[in-house]
């Protein structure tokens, strides 16, 4: 009944749910929702500090201490390989040499769709500099394979657009990526509710990363818990192996023999 743990870059994790830290009402809600989700890897953005405005203000990393969580700095908002690389070099300095990162290079401000040529270029540079790169990508199996061949430690294809909550729009492409990958595949972006996370896990992916689905739920703490259960349920269903689909043939669950006879 056991399941191997999720292993990313040589480190094992009990939870297959990774979460973002944006869009919460406040740090307290962030902390409680993430605690409820059971996530062990949490992604954070890197931004300019507001000079002169935040003296004494709490810091996100006080709420989510790196001693307890694996902090995954990301390059959200970067549109070029150069900016992504710069951002992650800063992140590595900020986190005392920590090298596990989430690379995302965007191509368009309206769709936030990944820019794959820039993503590949940034991945090449980052791997050469010793980063362990988890790469956000489109659901193109060839792109996922190229990222893997460049040395990325995980590929993270989108389920649908970032923050859209549209769920898994192309399960067939995700399936091809999962079937061919030799590194963990984490479905990232587009999850809307618990069933989406379960479907992603039932496809056989290694984990799911989400932010908005939890942060923008009416009750983020409760949704954090729902997502934890959904990821676990989906994983268990994948390992159990679903029954065959029989679209044109019913099959009664009760014995067909031994029915009582009609009277009269």
């Amino acid at each position: 009944m056991g399941d191997a743990r999720l292993v990313v870059a040589g480190k094992a994790y009990d939870s297959r749910l990774l979460v973002g830290t944006g869009k919460y009402r406040d740090f307290d809600e962030t902390r409680r929702a993430i605690e409820a989700s059971g996530a062990q890897i949490v992604t954070v953005a890197i931004r300019r500090t507001n000079i002169g405005q935040n003296a004494g203000e709490p810091n996100l990393l006080d709420v989510l201490p790196p001693s307890r969580y694996t902090i995954l700095p990301n390059t959200a908002g970067c549109y070029t390989a150069q900016d992504a690389v710069r951002t992650l070099r800063l992140a590595r300095e900020l986190l005392d040499g920590h090298s596990l990162v989430k690379l995302e290079v965007l191509g368009d401000a309206k769709t936030l769709y990944p820019h794959m040529p820039e993503t590949l270029e940034a991945a090449r540079t980052l791997v050469a500099e010793g980063f362990q790169v988890m790469a956000y990508c489109n659901d193109d199996p060839i792109m996922a394979k190229q990222l893997e061949e460049l040395g990325c430690v995980a590929v993270m294809p989108l389920a649908s657009l970032i923050g859209s909550g549209m769920g898994i729009v192309n399960p067939y492409n995700l399936q091809i990526i999962i079937d061919h990958a030799r590194v963990p595949v984490l479905v990232d972006a587009g999850i809307g509710t618990a069933s989406d996370a379960a479907i992603a896990m039932e496809l056989g992916c290694d984990g799911v990363l989400m932010n908005t689905a939890i942060a923008k739920a009416r009750d983020p703490v409760r949704m954090g818990r729902a997502m934890k259960l959904a990821v676990e349920a989906g994983r268990e269903a994948f390992l159990a192996g679903r029954m065959a689909r029989k679209p044109y043939e019913a099959s009664a669950s009760s014995p067909e023999a031994g029915l009582i006879q009609k009277t009269g």
């Binding site: 973002g20 992604t43 953005a45 300019r48 500090t49 700095p73 800063l90 908005t212």
Partner: protein, 68 residues
């Protein structure tokens, strides 16, 4: 003596000489988890006490914030 730098995109003037340690202190950011870049290059924290800002430097001071 004063130096003029661009700090997180805005022009700022500081008395010279100024080390990165003194900059962090002046900005009341001591003890915060941050990273600093000067003209596109990381300034390692271990270098803060001796490394000095120069006139015209473009300085970025970043922290971790909520994001997905």
């Amino acid at each position: 003596m004063a130096i003029h730098v661009h700090l997180n995109g805005a022009p700022r003037e500081f008395p010279a000489p100024l080390t990165f340690s003194q900059l962090v202190e002046t900005l009341e950011l001591e003890g915060k988890r941050l990273a600093i870049e000067r003209n596109g290059e990381i300034v390692p924290r271990t270098r803060f006490p001796e490394e000095r800002l120069s006139d015209g430097d473009r300085i970025e001071v970043v922290i971790a914030v909520g994001g997905g």
